[in-house]
């Protein structure tokens, strides 16, 4: 309320100047074409993000329908570039990208910016931050590394032990960033007993992830934990261990959707895992993109805005990428036996 009063007392120019200190109310009612571009279609997290973005679109009374466009999984990189380029041709107001193409999307994202389109990334950023106005980060990527290390310690206990990572594809920028952050976190003496012995990739395919989990078990007889920072990989790994009757010896942890994980958490295969709300992520991304495209906020450090039901957010430097800006959503929800059933509903 205080910030509101402050804003009300200032004239328009002052609002812009003091924008850093006071949260901007994003004015609803502008009709703008906006595109929400997931990595690919057909998996739950992106659908939830779509749901959240639609909710925000309704609140902001954007009369133009939100375009939820995605490529096919096998054509993700080329498809994302194609959709971005076509959206540029159409002259939309903003594109929200969950980037699966690493820096390969940069040329097309820059071309979009050159036409005055706001490019907001969410879920997975553009690593070099070129061609991107701001990244809506679900959680702090450095924090992700620590959270994963903490979960590993929590599950393995003070004695620690050997563990392996089961990731998505070797090219997934966010997964790679989390793995790097975790390796960094492991340098901390308090995790000295944790030993990362292998990293394998299941390419976000159930079958490949399942086979990779089994292979890890065979390859490393003394492995005690599989850490899977991917919602597809974590369930597949849990299923593989359960089928191998190995859940009392080897545990699974990582990032997963409660609805898909509840059974494995209750039976002890995956005692603890983490995630954030993809609905909220979609909602916040939409507010950010809408604010930028309507001119209510600028993509610069310190800009603060109100994102409907989620409250105030601030654009800051992204500590994990030299040139990037980000809006940090957070926090993590850590799920275990106590809360997973409620979250799964």
């Amino acid at each position: 309320m205080k910030t509101n009063l402050l804003a009300a007392a200032s004239i328009a120019a002052l609002v812009a100047m003091t924008g850093a200190a006071s949260a901007v109310d994003i004015a609803p009612g502008k009709a703008m074409d906006m595109v929400l571009l997931p990595k690919f279609l057909g998996i739950l997290p992106f659908d939830q993000a779509h749901q959240g973005a639609e909710e925000a679109a309704k609140e902001l009374q954007n009369s133009k329908p939100l375009q939820f466009l995605g490529p096919t999984p096998e054509n993700s990189v080329a498809g994302q570039i194609e959709i971005t380029t076509n959206a540029t041709t159409q002259g939309v107001a903003a594109i929200m990208i969950s980037n699966n193409s690493g820096d390969q999307i940069v040329p097309s994202a820059k071309a979009a910016q050159a036409k005055g389109i706001k490019v907001v990334t969410w879920d997975s950023p553009i690593p070099s931050a070129e061609g991107e106005d701001v990244f809506v980060a679900q959680v702090d990527f450095t924090e992700t590394g620590k959270v994963m290390a903490d979960m590993a310690m929590g599950i393995l206990g003070a004695d620690g032990g050997k563990f392996a990572i089961l990731s998505a594809s070797p090219d997934a920028a966010n997964q790679n960033a989390w793995i790097a952050a975790m390796k960094d976190a492991l340098k901390d003496p308090k995790y000295a007993k944790l030993q990362l012995i292998d990293t394998v990739y299941g390419n976000d395919q159930s079958e490949a992830s399942y086979n990779q989990a089994n292979a890890l078990v065979d390859k490393h007889p003394d492995m005690k934990l599989i850490m899977a920072p991917t919602s597809v990989g974590i369930v597949a790994a849990a299923k593989a261990l359960q089928d191998g009757k190995l859940c009392d010896k080897i545990k699974v942890s990582g990032l997963g959707v409660p609805k898909e994980m509840v059974a494995y958490t209750m039976n002890g295969c995956a005692p603890q895992f983490a995630l954030w709300s993809f609905v909220d992520l979609g909602y916040l991304s939409y507010y950010t993109a809408y604010g930028l495209a309507s001119g209510a906020i600028k993509a610069e450090e310190g800009a603060t805005f109100k994102a409907g039901r989620m409250g105030e957010y601030k654009i800051t430097k992204d500590p994990t990428r030299a040139k990037g800006l980000r809006v940090l959503m957070g926090p993590f929800s850590i799920y275990d036996k106590k809360n997973v059933e409620a979250a799964a509903k």
């Binding site: 690493g102 390969q104 090219d171």
Partner: protein, 321 residues
Amino acid sequence: MTILGRLKSWEGLLLGLLAVIVVMNILRSPYFLGAGNIANLFQLSIEKIIVALIMTLIIINGEIDLSVASIMGLAACVLAWLFQMGASLPIAIVGGLLAGLAAGLFNGFWVAYVGLPSLAVTLAGLIGFRGIARILVEDRAIGGFPVWFNTLGQQGILGPITASILIFAVLFAIVAIVLHGSALGRLVYVIGNNLQAARYSGVRVQSVKMTLFAASGLIAALAGILYAARLGSVRGDMATGFELDIITIVLLGGVSIFGGSGNLAGVGLSILVILNLRNGMGLANITGNTQTSVIGALLIFSVLAPNLAQNLQRRWIGRKT
């Protein structure tokens, strides 16, 4: 119907299809006719259509090369790896091209001289060449190439026309001349039509096949490097799965999968049909899955329709078969 008549009607069909699609695109999207969009239409798939040209020769020859997309990835990764090791970019580019040529020669050796089925050899290549690319770049994304390289891939040199589009045009002309106006081109058809007859009449089947696979590797490598220039950075998964699109273009162009028939005009039309269709659907905000489904349906329909028409015609005249 004579073969000539059938081919003519095939191209006629593609031309009609193209006209319908273009008209629909113009009516449905105000952006379609912009010069930028027309250039984009080619630019977004330019690497695939470059490889489709050489794939046309391979399939007419009665073989198939499933490894092209992996060779594209391999060439780009060799380039990036050499560049990261400190080589200058021109040398890295030559390295990438040589890697592609080597991969093509490797395929050609097993097919032409050992006599293994190309489907099996290039299926192994599809897995193996991608594997080598992976070994070179692992989970890294390699970028930071000199500005001229990225400009080459991304900016027009004649208005909106990029270097890749020019290369495609030149290659199209070369392939047209080779296929339809040279001795080699005739041999490609002869071998594709009847391998045994070609052998008995003293055609050097082995060297023709070897040449084609080597050319396929080299051109795929070129396409892979152009793709790297367009995207400005290289990853291990570059061009994964492109082989299906490339083969689809060639088959839709009226080239028989069993070899011996088809021509470049058909493939040229098929390229235009698919690019315009994709672009139109993209501008109409149709998602990737629906796009692939529609192209799949088109692929089937484009062969089914003339067959049905022929059937009806035959019924009309009275059954001959």
